[in-house]
């Protein structure tokens, strides 16, 4: 350290940049799929160029209408959702959303879902050719659709098969998003790693439900839904911790991140990057607050590079 900053501390800002399976991010903060739309919706509140990456709403081959309403119900420190992957389909995404996002200088990660292994392969193919996509996040863990989704995510063999199919059709970095609704997240992570995944996202939502004691019927139109928000953070941190110990892939950690401190908890557990989900609904500026808070933490704790913190709690 030759020079000192004007405020008397070691020169320069702490380094926040991370690399997730080949995707270079200026900081570790991205968005959880389905909670940030296609980016447009939050652009009035968030300078998208300040995000490490944007993970967009789950995309499927054909448009999907989604599930009946109500689709959302609040639970203690959490939210159950059963959106059901409503989306305009991959073609519409490529034609409408991608060109808009191309106007920003931020890696765009596309979250993809299918009913069959073949669906995933075709999505990977289409999106790789579209240009402007930095990586694919393979959602094998959505609890809100009848076919596919969680079925793939809870069976290590199927999860690996989907991973291989996607890898076979793309040269983009492939991030596989795991379901927490399994006996051993490590087994799934290991198989997915063997199948060639470049990174892992965890966790998707916990399968839950809520019943209205007035009507005596389930609250959600679709009966069950996915639990997200602060309530699930302890489960998410535990899974990142376990997978970090077992598998040598970079992890995007998520599940209940509201503050920079929450994000750092995930990084200490082993996440290379973190995604903000439900918290966006509470404060549309959360992502940027988390970026700034992480920087402040590093600064105050004399950590010059965020990468030093990854997995540091394993001691």
């Amino acid at each position: 350290m030759s020079s000192k900053g004007s405020n008397g501390t070691s020169a320069g800002k702490p380094k926040l940049a991370v690399n997730v399976g080949g995707i270079q991010m200026i900081n570790p903060v991205t968005t959880a799929s389905g909670t940030f739309g296609f980016g447009t919706e939050y652009a009035p509140y968030v300078d998208l160029n300040r995000l490490g990456a944007i993970v967009v709403k789950g995309t499927t081959l054909a448009p999907r209408a989604g599930n009946p309403t109500p689709r959302l119900v609040e639970t203690p420190a959490g939210v159950l959702n059963s959106i059901g992957l409503q989306n305009p389909g991959v073609d519409h995404f490529i034609d409408e959303a991608l060109p808009y996002l191309a106007g920003f200088d931020v890696p765009v990660i596309v979250n993809i879902s299918g009913d069959t292994v073949e669906d995933y392969a075709r999505l990977a193919d289409r999106l790789s050719q579209a240009g402007g996509v930095a990586g694919l996040e393979v959602n094998i863990s959505c609890p809100n659709v009848k076919k596919g989704g969680m079925q793939f995510g809870s069976d290590p063999i199927m999860a690996a098969e989907v991973t291989r199919a996607v890898k076979g059709k793309t040269s983009l970095p492939v991030i596989v998003k795991l379901s927490p609704n399994v006996t051993s997240i490590v087994s799934v992570a290991e198989k997915v790693a063997e199948a060639g995944a470049d990174a892992l996202s965890l966790i998707n939502t916990l399968l839950g439900m809520s019943i209205d004691t007035k009507t005596r019927r389930p609250f959600l139109g679709n009966v069950m839904g996915g639990l997200s928000g602060p309530a699930i953070r302890p489960v998410a941190v535990r899974m990142v911790w376990q997978v970090y110990q077992a598998v040598k892939l970079p992890i995007i950690g998520m599940g209940g991140i509201v503050t920079a401190e929450d994000a750092i908890e995930f990084i200490l557990a082993g996440a290379t990057a973190v995604a903000v989900g439900t918290a966006n609904f509470v404060n549309p500026h959360t992502t940027i607050d988390v970026v700034e808070g992480i920087e402040k933490y590093l600064y105050e704790n004399g950590v010059s590079d965020l990468n030093e913190l990854i997995g540091a709690a394993h001691g």
Partner: protein, 275 residues
């Protein structure tokens, strides 16, 4: 653009049992808000309850730079909101959503509310009065004690007629029956000053879905333009989470989902796919 703001509580008062009016100092919203829009309100400061609550903008005082919300204590969030006191700060996000279309032409304007549905309609009535348009307001409530802000509406220059389910005041029956009665030129409301402008050209309504559905049918029969304010559970408030999906006609006899928070909450009644 809408903003997240910490607004100071100027007043927070129970006006009838279980219903409060909170007034917030927020020049920004005062300036931006249009009738039918809502604020996404954080009730409390902890992670339980977690989400904001959508509450319509009820009244705007441009001189004072204040916005009021009229809310019913429905559960945990609104119960916490009722505990805020003068001087406290409330985190609001807004104004959000698409509001009512202010009428331009001639003809009678009718405003029909059910219960707490009167909340957003008062702001509309403020604007209408400002444009020199005076409406007839049909307010339906369960019982006389639940009539809301009747005098305030009259002070703006509008007429008010009330329907109570239990007949404790005004028309004995639903507000839709009262409205039909009015259209037939009969009964309680056909007194001077109410039905004399002739044809109803425009209906604005907010209340229980069944009421709004019926009104949209009546409006169609009358050839009147009608707008309804729909309620759906909300997450983000900005169109990103797709939880506030409303069924809107897709032109082919079926529906597609539209987001109450950005494409609504106010929709032309004729576009709503009623069930």
């Amino acid at each position: 653009m809408s903003l997240v703001i910490d607004a100071k509580v100027v007043q927070n008062k129970q006006i009838i049992p279980g219903h409060y009016r909170i007034t917030l100092a927020t020049p920004y919203c005062t300036e931006k808000a249009r009738p039918g829009q809502f604020l996404h309100v954080r009730c409390g400061s902890t992670q339980d309850p977690l989400l904001r609550r959508p509450i319509s903008i009820h009244a705007v005082d441009p001189q004072a730079g204040e916005v009021s919300l009229l809310y019913r204590v429905a559960g945990r969030g609104t119960a916490l909101l009722a505990e805020y006191r003068v001087g406290d700060m409330v985190s609001i996000f807004g104004p959000l959503g698409r509001g009512f279309t202010l009428p331009k032409g001639d003809g009678k304007v009718c405003v029909v509310s059910g219960g707490i549905g009167i909340a957003p309609l008062y702001f509309l009535l403020q604007k209408l009065a400002g444009l020199g348009i005076f409406a007839t307001v049909f307010q339906g409530v369960a019982t006389a004690k639940q009539i809301l802000i009747e005098d305030e509406i009259r002070e703006l220059g509008h007429s008010v007629v009330v329907a109570t389910d239990d007949g404790t005041k005004g028309f004995h029956g639903t507000v839709t029956s009262l409205f039909e009665d009015f259209l037939r030129g009969g009964g309680l409301v056909s007194k001077p000053g109410i039905n004399e402008d002739g044809l109803v050209s425009c209906i604005f309504t907010c209340g229980p879905p069944a009421m709004m559905k019926r009104l949209s049918e009546i409006a169609a029969q009358q050839g009147a333009y009608c707008e309804v304010s729909l309620e759906e559970r909300m997450g983000c408030g900005v169109g990103a989470c797709l939880s506030c999906a409303c069924k809107i006609k897709d032109g082919s006899g079926w529906f597609h989902y539209r987001r109450a928070c950005v494409e609504g909450p106010v929709f032309p009644a004729g576009e709503v796919f009623w069930e």
